[in-house]
Amino acid sequence: MTTATIAGADVQIDDEGFLIDPTEWTEDIARQLATNIGIELTDRHWDMIRFIRADYAANGVTPGTRRVQAAGGFATKEQFELFPKKPQKKSAYIAGVPKPAGCV
């Protein structure tokens, strides 16, 4: 396990740079992680990140594309616009939750 300083906070991260403990996440960390991968966070990004975090907190699993669409109200197309090419992994990274484990 590695501890790193992101946006002034010491957090645990895995080999790829994903946060290990979602409770260590802060909005400042999210801003830094987004900058890291070239994403400028708009209100809509924040809405989706908050949905993903809330859904993870409630269910213990990171929601996949379909759930983010059906339960979160973010159409698949929009997910790809907000987090280009790899919406699931990129949004999970910024939201400080594990990569989605399911296939869909």
């Binding site: 396990m1 790193a4 070239g38």
Partner: protein, 171 residues
């Protein structure tokens, strides 16, 4: 467990720095419920990885994109040793609808979308759906009979053009 303190956190690459021309083509040739899903799941996964993805429907695979049939794909356990049941049982009347019912319940239990919704997800994610000209002619089907997200009925050489440089799966 050891804890190391690093100055800077690694940044996942997400493959963005390399301009990839990776492309996936999946030929769907089966019309049974169980054989519809492998192509759909893989196409969806590939799109989520930012890979250009095309699905080409041919022969029995047409049932996956024909309006009349796509919501009613069936699973038959007959002649399938992996069901671990004797064929004389699997051949009994009503067994196909029973087995289909069971499989649909499992699919739903796994929170997998049905075929139509799955194809909508795939096209929303930028995937392309193509229908085979020869199959359409054989089955007397036209574009109006097909799921409206199918981009076109194309012939074999059109398909070969699309598949240039792609990794191709035949299902």
């Amino acid at each position: 467990m050891t804890t190391t303190l690093t100055e800077t956190a690694p940044i996942p690459s997400f493959g963005d720095e390399k301009e990839t021309d990776r492309k996936l083509v999946i030929i769907c040739s089966k019309g049974s419920l169980d054989m519809a899903y492998p192509g759909l799941v893989l196409a969806n996964a590939a799109l989520g990885e930012g890979i250009e993805t095309h699905l080409f429907f041919t022969f029995w695979g047409f049932d996956m994109i024909t309006e009349k049939t796509m919501d009613h794909l069936k699973f038959s356990p007959l002649g399938n040793p992996a069901t671990h049941m004797p064929n004389f049982v699997m051949g009994l009347p009503g067994m196909t609808s029973f087995a289909t019912h069971m499989m649909k319940a499992q699919i739903e239990g796994l929170d997998l979308p049905e075929v139509r919704e799955f194809l909508e997800l795939i096209t929303d994610a930028g995937g392309h759906l193509w229908a085979c000209r020869m199959s359409a002619d054989m089955m007397h089907l036209e574009e109006k009979d097909l799921f409206d997200r199918v981009e076109g009925i194309i012939n074999a050489s059109d398909f070969i053009e699309i598949a240039e440089g792609a990794q191709t799966l035949f299902i």
